[in-house]
Amino acid sequence: MHDLQAPLVGRRRVARDAFVLGFRAGPIAREVRAGQFVNVLLRPGPLLRRPFSVHRTEGEIVELVLRAVGEGTGRLLELREGDRVGLLGPLGRGFALDPSAGRVTLVSGGLGVAPMPMAARQARAMGLHVCWVHGARTAADLCSEWEGDEICWATEDGSRGVRGTALEAVPEPAGQVLACGPLPMLAALARRWPEAQVAVETVMGCGTGVCLGCAVPLTSGVYTRACTEGPVYRAGAVAWERLPAPAHAGWET
């Protein structure tokens, strides 16, 4: 775990309102595994850090993908090159890839693309065949970048690829399934592939395991910490009906 002041070194648009930000943070870039996250400190900015999956790494650079939904993400997208943020990470447990699976399917809804490029690269480095299935509302909301051997698109309005959710576009046999996206998508995915690995989002206080704020309820009845035991879980282990989407901070967010 590192706590660094990392300068913004690049920014590009990858979907409607969605941007990839690159920060120079060598020690984190070198250690991070797919599915892990960093906790971002903004000053001036909101009191608490904001968690983001690591999207890609490029040498010393850690990339995050995000959209403005509130104060923290809004401020992140206002940063100018050279501005520094605090990056704490890598945090959490990432995806566990099974080299014997032969084939891995990445299922991402909307900004659930976040952890996928790293997952795709790690899987290919292990010799796995990577099929990436990516869904969003419309073609303009789809992420314009992808990695892997195959890509399948899905849009709610059918403006690109299959009409429907990413889930409905997954070609069988899926092999090992890794997923990230809105809670309803993950809950549905859990019914189809209980063995899938899913990255979940919760509100976080600390990101380091001390506050117990990031509780994810399991079917076994206990709560686990998304920042420590997660954010990647076996889909079938999560008690989805007891995992609320984070409540809204206001109208504007």
């Binding site: 704490l88 001390v210 709560y223 809204h248």
Partner: protein, 307 residues
């Protein structure tokens, strides 16, 4: 034991309420886990720590969402999720026994007898340097804050714990008490060695898109910089009301925040929410106190003139 208002505390080691602290800055309960979780904290700066609140038995805690950020603060409703006392004795205390700073256990119960039983179980356990009796948790259905709002109930819990242990007994107060000075004096008379002021303030936040509370437990406890002026005032009132030492808590982030509590009459402080933002917040507070100390070791302020 010297009176909190007799002089200012330097950044070095000191004894507070029967516990030998390495520095006057401790980690607050519920914000430092069991001491094994935050690798980036400078442990030489740590005066001591209070572990997450425990009950006799393991507890699942409150339903999520458990945290909501508010202006310069956060509401939490963790609901005292945690292992029971047996796990603490078996798994954590042996570790703590090897650490260079003292660890206090934060005690919780739904009845006076549960607090007393916890105290008895922890008495003599190597690695446990003291007990912090939490009569101020706002996030449980029974017990918690209710004990801390009434001087008689507060005294009953304190006395029950006191007779069942030889360990130092600190009592953690709630700002929800109508008269915190009265509760403080009641705890002092019932045998507390020190008082911790304060725990979180009860608050609520609603989701304007659903009209429902943003926390799974509906209400939560407010912590962080937002509460600092309120906590300084209450800690000062407590320090004026009792002769035992007071440990100040609430919104400490910078070295000068810690000094504010010390100037207000506290003998030591605890840092909570700031650790979530900066895992080495305590290291930085202690470093700041050290750098600003005058040559005789006392911080640069003067003591607060009585009103």
């Amino acid at each position: 034991m010297s009176d909190a208002r007799d002089g200012l505390t330097p950044a070095g080691p000191l004894e507070v309420g029967g516990v030998h602290l390495a520095t006057p800055v401790m980690a607050a309960s519920g914000t430092f886990g069991f001491g094994t979780e935050v690798p980036l904290c400078d442990r030489r700066a740590l005066g001591g720590m209070v572990c997450k609140g425990i009950f006799l038995e393991p507890r699942a805690g409150a339903p999520p969402p458990r945290i909501v950020e508010t202006p310069s603060g956060m509401l939490n409703a963790i609901g005292l999720q945690g292992p029971g006392v047996e796990t603490v004795i078996r798994e954590y205390a042996p570790l703590w026994a090897t650490w260079p700073f003292p660890v206090l256990v934060n005690l919780n119960g739904e009845t006076v007898e549960e607090y007393a039983e916890l105290a008895a179980r922890l008495d003599g356990v190597a690695g446990v340097s003291g007990l912090e009796v939490n009569i101020s948790c706002p996030n449980v259905e029974r017990g918690g804050m209710l004990f801390g709002q009434d001087p008689d109930l507060a005294a009953a819990v304190t006395a029950a714990v006191r007779v069942r242990t030889r360990l130092p007994v600190w009592v953690k107060l709630t700002p929800a008490a109508g008269d915190i000075s009265a509760v403080a004096r009641a705890c002092e008379e019932a045998g507390a060695d020190a008082l911790c002021a304060v725990n979180t303030f009860v608050g609520m936040a609603l989701d304007v898109r659903t009209g429902q509370p943003r926390l799974g437990f509906r209400t939560g406890g407010l912590s962080g910089p937002a509460i600092r002026p309120l906590a300084v005032y209450l800690a000062h009132r407590v320090a004026q009301a009792v002769r035992i030492p007071v440990i100040g808590i609430g919104g400490i982030t910078r070295p000068e925040d810690a000094l504010e509590f010390l100037l207000a009459g506290c003998r030591a402080v605890q840092v909570g929410t700031a650790t979530f933002v900066d895992p080495n917040a305590i290291g930085r507070v202690v470093e700041g106190l050290r750098r600003r100390s005058t040559p005789d070791g006392a911080p640069p302020g003067h003591r607060l003139r009585p009103a």
